[in-house]
Each structure stands twice: as structure tokens, then as C-alpha cells.
Amino acid sequence: MAEARGPSIQLRDVWKDFVKRGRRVEALQAIEVAVEVNEFAALLGPSGCGKSTLLNMVAGFDRPTRGEVLVNGVRVERPDPSRAVVFQEPALFPWYTVLDNITFGPKTRGLRPAAYQPRVDALLEQVGLEGFESHYPAELSGGMKQRVGIARVLVMEPQVLLMDEPFGSLDAQTRLVMQELLLSVWERHHQTVLFVTHDVEEALLLADSVSVMTARPGRIKKRISVELPRPRALELTTSAAFNDLKREVLSLIREESRRAAAQSGG
């Protein structure tokens, strides 16, 4: 985006508490995140550390207790098609066919079929959904559902793509296929991506930077740059450079879990 100055996604001193049955739960503390335009940023952390909470605030589903969330310099107030979300559960509309799910956004914006049909056709091809247009979500496998979930937001040409463990509920093989698919799709579209995961290899394979989070209350422990060549493919995960980075991240995680254990023990 030509008009964007500074980072695409920015969280400034963001805190988030939840009140649950009268008790306050601190989910996030003093979060500072900056994702540059067209950067693929991964957020890595154990489950329950507040990754979804953080992403939901960028999406506009939730507000921070303190601090501010900016996207392209504008404070996030509500959900918007410029900030697309791919959920862990595919969250497709079960009463619509694949095609109707993908065209939901463009139709809602009042676009004419002529305006979006070429993009829909191209996306169906890119994510490998050709021939499945008239299927209902219930007839698709988990991986296919996620492809629809990705296609239906890419068709909106969002500035920012938010992904919350999108491959987390897929089996290992399908996950690998989907990671490569996402890489190839991202090479074409080059949006800013914030990708949440608890899988170290997934984060390193996909992202330009990996922010490692602490256990709850979630803070950003360290941001690691992943300077591996693109375009990337699965074979990258066997390279020496990849394994050096993996070792670095794993030691961070080990250090963090030791600290957490010592804290809850004492």
C-alpha cells in the first residue's frame, strides 16, 4: 500500500484482561508488536498464552484493556474486510456451497459478478478447488475446508491477512501440503500476514520473523528474524541454516518453560 507509512500492524503497550466469573484473568501484558508492510510475521507460543486474544484485537473482534492497536496507522475499532481472518475452525457457512462461500464477501459489498469472477476463478485454481465449486462444506475434508477459508478472504484482496493456527486441526501430511500451498499463494499476493501457531517448524518455514511468546500472561519474549531465501519449499526444513534457527527457538522455549515451572512451583 503506497500510502502506508511505518509498520502495517502495530500494537503499542497492549494489555488485555478478561473477567471470568468475577475473577480477573490477565491474558496479555505490555505487548509491543510491529509488522512491516508485506512482512510474513509469525507469533509462536504455547496454547493459552494469548495468541488468539492478540489476533482477535487486530481483527477488531475484541478491544485491548490498555494500549492501542493500529493497522496502517489507523486505530482498529471493528472488523473490516481489509483485515481478513482465517480461523482454526474453518468457520464456513454450511448452508452455502464452496462457490457461494467464496463469493460471500464480494456479493456483500455489492460487486457485480463480472468484477469478481475472474479473481474467483484464479483463486479456485491456485488453492486447488476446481471442480468442487458446488460442493457443500460438509462434503469436504479438513484441508479442503481450509482452502475455501483462505480463498474466501483472498478474493477480498485484503491488506492484512490474520491466520489463527489455520492448520492446527489438520493431520501432519495435510498440514505440510497446506503450508506449501500457503507459501505459493503468498508469493503471488504478498500481503502483510500475522500468523499464529504453536508449531516451531511451521513458523520458521513460513515467516520472515518469529515472535516467541511467554506462557500466560502472554508477553513477547523475543523476535527472531528468519533470513532464509525465498521462494521456500518443504526441503528448507532440512537445511543447516533452518536447524540453527530451530535450535535457537527451542532453547528460548525451554528457558521459558523452566522459568514458568519455577514460578508456579515457588
Partner: protein, 263 residues
């Protein structure tokens, strides 16, 4: 559904035989309960009329009474659906509407429609309007309550998905909340049509002078138990038929859901 084969006719046949035996062997006092064959014969005459001239007031009047009752049920049911579905959508969707309307509905709902009968006659007189009021009111409650439940059960994730795709609240209500609530709405409609048949019989027995409910009460009065039983069977069949119709409509409209169950 697995094929059931012809076995399901066994129990009805056994009951029919038991009924026949109870009458012919006089297990019950004679003259009170008619034999199945007698009911069948009277029912036949009631439908097709008797050969030659007949003095029976029931001869050939079946269809007319079926149409009276069916029309009332249909009208009352459509009114109930036309009011109950939109209202249920708004109660489920909007906190303000819910706080405003829901308590009154919950307060009035326990009053049985039979208890509304004197009120209905006093206000509407012995006309069709009174019957429609009772039928509509009876069918309205299950429709509005189930629609409300369906709306409140809408998956939060689907609402978020729609919002991030840029859908307005109106679009969400029409394209997400309504289809998501549709299975529950159909449950309400099926319960509603059942209540509607109950209400039409009650209303016709007391408040209007036509239809199957009127025939039922009238036949009882003149001691024609055979016609009473034939009427009961007729109402049962019509109730079953209307339920199948709604069920069939739901099967077509909720095709996506059948796939889910088998997938």
C-alpha cells in the same frame, strides 16, 4: 433411515383385531363402542354419501368439514408463522427487543389455549375470527420460542466470519442468523402445526358451527360414536399429513444439514 420392511403394520393390525374382538365378544358394554367395521362403513358414507336418499345428516359431508378445519388450521398457522418467525429473530438478535417482549411471552405462554376459549368467544363472538385467534395463539408460542433459541445458538465464529467479510447487521441477520436458526424454526413449525390441530378441534367444538370439531361434538351429542371415532381418525390423518408436509419442506431447505449428518 434403514428400510423397515412391512413389519410396522403388525402392531396396528393387532390393535385393530383387539378392538374388533372387544366389541364382538362384548368385553365392553354393548352399544358404547362401535366395531371397526361399523366405523369404516359410517366413515365411507360420511365421505361418499349413501346410495339413494338418506336421512343421515352426515351423509357426504366429510370433505366440506375437512376443508373447513384445514382452512382454519392453515390460516391460523400462517398468521402464527408470519408473526412468530420475525419476532423470534428480533428477540434472539436484539437485547432491547428481548428485554421488552420476551418476559410478556414467557408470562402468557403457560396459559393453555383452552383457557382462552371464553375470552375468545366474548371478544370475537361465535365467528371464524375466534377460532383463528385460538389457533394462531397456540401455534405462535412454539414458533417464536424455537426461533429465538435458534438465533441465540448461532455460532459466534460464523458471526465473526461474516463481520470480517464486511457484512452489515441486516445481511448477517438474513444470510447467517436466519439459515443457522432454520432447523430450530422448523422444529417450532412442526410443534406449532400440532397445537393448531388441537386448537381447531377445541374451537370448533364450542365456538363455531362447522368443521371436524363441530361434527365430533355434535355426533357425541346424538350418540353417533361411530362418527366420533371416524372424526378422530380423520383429524389424526390430517395432523400426520401436515406434519409430513413441513418435514418434507425442511428436508429440501436443509439439504446441507443432511450432508453434515452423514459426512
Amino acid at each position: 433411515m434403514p428400510r423397515r420392511g412391512p413389519w410396522f403394520v403388525l402392531l396396528p393390525l393387532a390393535l385393530l383385531f383387539l378392538w374388533h374382538a372387544a366389541v364382538t365378544r362384548q368385553w365392553v358394554a354393548p352399544g358404547i363402542i362401535p366395531a371397526p367395521s361399523q366405523v369404516a362403513e359410517s366413515w365411507y358414507r360420511w365421505i361418499f354419501g349413501a346410495a339413494g336418499t338418506s336421512l343421515s345428516p352426515y351423509s357426504g359431508t366429510w370433505l366440506a368439514n375437512v376443508l373447513y378445519s384445514s382452512r382454519r388450521v392453515l390460516q391460523g398457522f400462517l398468521i402464527a408463522a408470519a408473526l412468530g418467525i420475525p419476532l423470534g429473530l428480533f428477540i434472539g438478535w436484539n437485547r432491547l427487543v428481548s428485554n421488552l417482549v420476551d418476559p410478556s411471552i414467557q408470562l402468557l405462554r403457560p396459559v393453555p389455549i383452552t383457557a382462552w376459549l371464553p375470552f375468545s368467544i366474548a371478544v370475537f363472538g361465535i365467528y371464524d375470527t375466534g377460532a383463528l385467534f385460538l389457533i394462531g395463539l397456540g401455534a405462535f408460542y412454539p414458533i417464536v420460542v424455537n426461533t429465538t433459541h435458534g438465533v441465540r445458538d448461532t455460532n459466534l465464529l460464523l458471526l465473526r466470519a461474516a463481520r470480517m467479510l464486511g457484512a452489515s447487521e441486516t445481511t448477517i441477520l438474513g444470510k447467517v442468523v436466519f439459515p443457522s436458526a432454520l432447523p430450530s424454526i422448523f422444529t417450532g413449525l412442526r410443534l406449532g402445526i400440532g397445537v393448531a390441530w388441537t386448537a381447531v378441534i377445541v374451537a370448533e367444538m364450542i365456538a363455531v358451527k362447522s368443521g371436524l370439531g363441530y361434527v365430533l361434538w355434535d355426533a357425541y351429542y346424538v350418540g353417533r360414536m361411530d362418527i366420533c371415532v371416524a372424526t378422530m381418525c380423520s383429524v389424526g390423518m390430517l395432523g400426520f399429513l401436515s406434519d409430513r408436509l413441513i418435514h418434507g419442506a425442511s428436508r429440501i431447505l436443509l439439504r446441507w444439514r443432511a450432508l453434515e449428518a452423514h459426512g
